[in-house]
Amino acid sequence: MTAPQSSLEAKGAIIVVDDDPSVRKALTNLFNSLDLPVHAFASTQEFLDWPLPGMPLCLVLDIRMPGQNGLDFQEAFAPAHEEIPVVFITGHGDIPMSVRAMKAGAIEFLTKPFKEQDLLDAIYAGLAKSAARRAEKAKVSDVYGRYQSLSPRQRQVMDMILKGQLSKQIAATLNLSEITVKICRAQLMRKMEATSLLELGRMAEKIQGVAKPPPQE
């Protein structure tokens, strides 16, 4: 394992989970030769016990393992960790397995022995995706923070604006003067750092899943 250097933080790290010691060792060697930090684990449990570092990560996961197999693990793990893409490697894969893996959002499904380029393409795509997801997540939480800073009245007004209501209509509904509504509107636009209604709309969309309970499933 290589200690992540500051310049590599941005690049991210690879996590290998494979019960086979020689594959684990080989993958560690390969990623080390690429100057990529690697953390290798013999089982999914070992991996779960490990505190996740705050950097882009790509998970290289074996399917056949004692204890929990890779596919079951992905199904349980992926929904809560969208920012950690999974690349599957398996000694013997079949179509149902690969369909299941890809449906659950895997980047790639490689059968051992795999071509180096395929694996590298997959992990670089994974790291890029991880970085993008992390950035996106950061942005969302930033916007959400701004939204949280609004007063209840401002939020109410914001909701109504986004529904397409005019200041006059809002004032009537909330029993306020039109001037008050306009001031409130200007304040919330400033707090949200939105330059236009369109931008405010986009922000609202982004935080929709976070701010409100997700739509019924």
Binding site: L30, G91, E116
Partner: protein
């Protein structure tokens, strides 16, 4: 058993008693199987010959009889047809010789008959001619029958080997996925290490330490892959029984290694408790592997069929009766139905869906052809234990 018309009453009596003796010997050999569960219908094949082949007593008896017959035939007058007793020698030779051996013994006996005829000092010359011809005919007919029996036995043996081979290949076919996995694992490691190695080489300056490590890993993994292939190939070979000195622990370890992937996949743990100083046994490595493989796959299937199982198989090897080797394969699977014990080792009786029901019957015939016994007992808590014994080599060559 048809007999030459030429023999007189006295000779015939002797011959029959010899046959009775041989049959008796075979019966006794079967009786040594200490197994109440053993079905009464008898085995799929019963080749007891291998057990008797090792013994040196029968050839000695044959030589003594030959000498005695020759002396008596020579000193008694022409009227007494002692040479007919050579059929005993021919029959005995069929026990310890293959076809060519029986033919040579028969040729020697015929020659001795003629020599005795020449050497016999007195008696009626015509009766001498008649008696000698009768003796020669008897020897010829017995030889013919002995060879026919030998050929039939060889055919049975070949059929047995073919069926065992087929069963092995079927099992290997079922294991194909896990074997592929097992081979691809080191291959993936080799390719990955080689790629890493190339990169370490290209670095400026080349990282010699990492290059060395990578190459060492490549060698280890290549050896691992070739080991697996060697094991699979050994199991897939078809051939006559090749008996040699075998260590039963090696057999067990080979099979467990081959099953590794399947065991992992089914999350079954195998605990082995192998005795260190086991007597070496004389047998066919592949066939014994087949027995262990079969018992192990059955155990895994039994565990898969039992929901509450601890998913553990225990394999033990130990010495029994000083010179025998005993192997126990214990699982905590679904066990054997109370009514199933009696037909457990019968051919074409399977409790498994899609099972052909030849696995255990092949196991039994293999173990019996090695002079051992195989039986099963239910466990006190859950599952079943299969036991088999194989006589140690020391016992065979006193």
């Amino acid at each position: 058993m048809p007999f030459p018309h030429a023999c007189n009453r006295a000779t015939c009596g002797t011959d029959c008693s010899i046959i009775a003796e041989i049959v008796d010997e075979r019966m006794r050999a079967q009786m040594t199987i200490p197994n109440e569960q053993r079905p009464s219908s008898g085995g799929f094949w019963n080749t007891k010959k291998n057990k008797i082949l090792g013994s040196a007593i029968i050839p000695a008896i044959a030589v003594i009889i030959t000498a005695a017959v020759f002396i008596i035939d020579t000193i008694t007058p022409y009227e007494i047809s002692a040479a007919t007793f050579y059929v005993v020698v021919v029959l005995l030779s069929s026990i310890f010789c293959r076809t060519t051996g029986v033919l040579s013994v028969s040729a020697i006996c015929s020659t001795l008959t003629v020599v005795s005829f020449i050497l016999t000092p007195d008696g009626n010359y015509r009766s001498g001619i008649a008696n000698t011809s009768i003796s020669l005919l008897a020897i010829g007919a017995t030889t013919y029958l002995a060879i026919r029996i030998e050929t039939a036995r060889l055919l049975t043996e070949r059929a047995q080997a073919d069926l065992a081979h087929m069963a092995r290949v079927t099992t290997l076919g079922e294991m194909a996925a896990s074997i592929a996995h097992e081979v691809n694992q080191p291959l993936a490691a080799i390719i990955t290490n080689a790629n890493a190695c190339t990169r370490w080489l290209r670095a400026t300056p080349p990282n010699l330490e990492k290059i060395g490590e990578s190459i060492a890993s490549i060698v280890d993994d290549a050896e691992r892959a070739s080991d697996i292939i060697r094991r699979v190939r050994a199991l897939a070979t078809r051939g006559e029984l090749k008996k040699a000195r075998v260590g039963i622990n090696d057999v067990i370890q080979d099979v467990v290694a081959l099953m590794q992937s399947r065991l992992r996949e089914d999350q079954v743990t195998v605990r082995t408790n192998l005795a260190e100083d086991l007597p070496p046994i004389f047998g066919d490595h592949v066939q014994l592997q087949q027995v262990v493989l079969n018992l192990l796959t059955n155990a895994v299937d039994a565990i898969n069929a039992a929901p509450g199982s601890k998913r553990e198989i225990r394999i033990e090897s130990s010495t029994r009766d000083k010179d025998d080797v005993l192997v126990r394969v214990e699982d905590d699977g679904i066990g054997i139905a109370p009514g199933g014990m009696g037909t457990l080792f019968d051919a074409f009786k399977s409790t498994k869906q899609g099972g052909m029901g030849i696995g255990l019957s092949i196991c039994r015939s293999i173990i019996e052809s090695h002079g051992g016994a195989i039986w099963a007992t239910p466990n006190r808590t859950a599952g079943a234990t299969f036991h088999f014994t194989v006589p140690g080599e020391r016992k065979k060559t006193p």
